[in-house]
Symmetry: C2
Subunit: 375 residues, 2 copies
């Protein structure tokens, strides 16, 4: 029995792999209507911040893993002390939870990172800007951010002051604004015994901090994609990650820089469901169960994945009719989530030979499913 804390789409997309492998999933969801709760037989309703709920949940599981990074580190340590098997463990997961800890550790490991500093006051931000390339810089909350939340580009001292006045945020850091040519993601999976596999490096397109499109493989120099895979494999080993580690990177003319880490299946790996021999979800399950990992190779020369964000369509059936009739090769993935503007409610993937054509097909379907276009 694999327990997944969190009932979002990542837990949901573990279910098809669990069905195939004959692995039972149990989900701790905030509501029985959550994306993953709809598709597993065994769902417990409870909050990931409630230690008693976590303890009850973990007691029935052989191993516990995650849909998100929001479980307090102290709670995870308490579960470990209880004897629960937590993968990735709290000592590794903290580097995906706390960007300050992550930046410190990566600097210590010699990983390529943007220039950064912890900050408490606007003057610290100004000093950081003055010592480097000046404004703009990027402020980040050390904890709790996702999908662009908790990240603020700031142009001057006043903006920095306004951001730092967010009093629910436990800590901030500042980073140089990296002039990147594109954003990349390197997804790897690592088992407790140390076996690791690396998926092809992908290009990601973010808008307002939300991943919108992923193209596999990234069309970049081999030296950069090898460097990105090396960084991800190296960090997975050094941090002791178990399961999927996704490393988001900036590609620059001088090389790649690590932007963020996630220790769970990641949006940049959704294309692997339809485009790789073994999906990131299957390899995450294999890793947390300490089973040998599956082949991460792509099954076609190119894949394109575009997220479907919440839009104006209350009923998707007519949109399905159009998209499926127009493109029989389209792979549609919907998360069973209620529609809120800007919320990720699904994604589409197409695989094939011609990257430009794949991009057009995936973008068209995602726009149609969102209700942005009707032709």
């Amino acid at each position: 029995m694999v327990g997944v804390v969190g009932g979002g789409q990542l837990a949901r997309m573990m279910q098809p792999s669990a069905v195939a492998l004959g692995v039972r999933l149990r989900v701790l969801a905030e509501s029985a209507q959550d994306s993953a709760a709809q598709v597993v037989a065994d769902c417990e309703v409870g909050h990931h911040g409630d230690l008693a709920a976590l303890r009850r949940f973990a007691a029935g599981c052989d191993v516990v893993t995650f849909d998100h990074e929001h479980v307090p580190t102290a709670h995870l340590s308490a579960l470990v002390d209880d004897g629960a098997v937590i993968r990735p463990g709290p000592d590794a997961l903290v580097f995906a939870q706390d960007k300050g800890r992550m930046r410190e550790r990566l600097a210590k490991e010699g990983a390529p990172v943007p220039r950064w500093a912890p900050v408490a006051a606007a003057d610290d931000v100004a000093a950081f800007a003055d010592a480097g390339d000046g404004w703009p810089v990027v402020l980040k909350a050390t904890r709790g951010g996702y999908d662009g939340k908790g990240v603020w580009p700031v142009d001057d001292l006043d903006e920095a002051d306004w951001v730092l006045s967010h009093d629910q945020v436990p800590g901030f850091l500042v980073e140089e604004r990296v002039r990147f040519t594109r954003e990349l993601a390197a997804v790897v999976a690592r088992s407790p015994s140390g076996q690791a596999v690396a998926y092809p490096v992908v290009e990601t397109v973010q808008i307002d901090g939300i991943c919108r499109e992923v193209y596999a493989p990234a069309q970049i120099a081999a030296t950069h994609s090898v460097a990105a895979q090396r960084v991800a494999l190296d960090l997975a080993g050094r941090l002791g990650v178990v399961g999927v580690l996704a490393v988001e990177l900036f590609d620059t003319p001088e090389g790649v820089l690590v932007n963020e880490l996630a220790m769970r299946p990641h949006n940049s790996g959704h294309w692997t469901i339809d485009g790789a021999v073994t999906s990131q979800f299957e390899n995450h399950l294999r890793a947390v169960l300490d089973l040998p990992l599956g082949d991460p190779s792509a099954t076609a020369p190119h894949a394109a994945m575009v997220n479907v964000l919440g839009g104006d369509l209350p009923d998707l059936y007519p949109a399905y009719l159009h998209c499926m009739a127009r493109d029989p090769g389209l792979k549609v993935h919907m998360y069973g989530k209620s529609v809120r503007p800007g919320r990720k409610i699904g994604h589409v993937t197409v695989v094939g030979d011609d990257p430009g054509q794949l991009k057009d097909r995936a973008r068209h379907a995602a726009a149609y499913l969102r209700g942005d276009i009707d032709e």
Copy 2:
């Protein structure tokens, strides 16, 4: 909400496609421990022969489909009279339920079938043998057979007499023993609006009437594979099938002959999960929901699927370690079923370029998972 009557592995394997499409499945299973019941959030326990249970079940579903063919035709007609949407409908399904009705109808449609006759007594069988190529012939129960049950090759009058003494069997037919070169299956899907797609024709290897191995595509003359697809598409249309229709055929030097029909996803189509753009399970769901059908093309030149039958292994984890470490490209599918000798408890699939190598890999893994070999 799609309701599936029956909680076996076919219903189970619909769940990953349902998860992706955002379709909710409800399963009517005989027990909450059934293969499919383990992996859906919405399971009703009840028997497919109990009309009241069927009525309760159907009332909550937009459309009802099947994991097996065992629901009495009269019950299905009653559900239709209630206003339920049953796909495939009882008028089509009867030809997969009743081999006598199937043979009559196929003969009327001019489909290529073995020589056959309905029989009631051993003398009828002897007369049939005398009028043709003599003994042996094949006796079949008209209803209730599966996986080799309900089929008896008989060598003489005494054996025929013994078989016909099975007094629970509602009816018998006799067929010539076809001297086939190989067995084939043609899997197609058809929607209520009449759209249909055909998967590549496969070769199936049966032992004791149980499908053991499937190779896609069948390595046969194009004229025979086109003929098999034509027969399947033609019958799907003429019989008004909705969903997947699997036509099992004998390949002979003179052409193909229809052996059996199944109107649901079929063992001969399991390879499509890992080897086709759209699996038979996804196309079955699309068809019963009257959504446009997905591309049935293979994603690689060859695929090999071998069933895992119940063997001696009480705990599969060590076998998983071996098989997955030995072959990272292996796709394992286990059905969560308790092990009984000879019972289908899972299957493995590999896809690639070299059919001989794929056969060896799939056979090795299936034998290891069964416990037949330990090296």
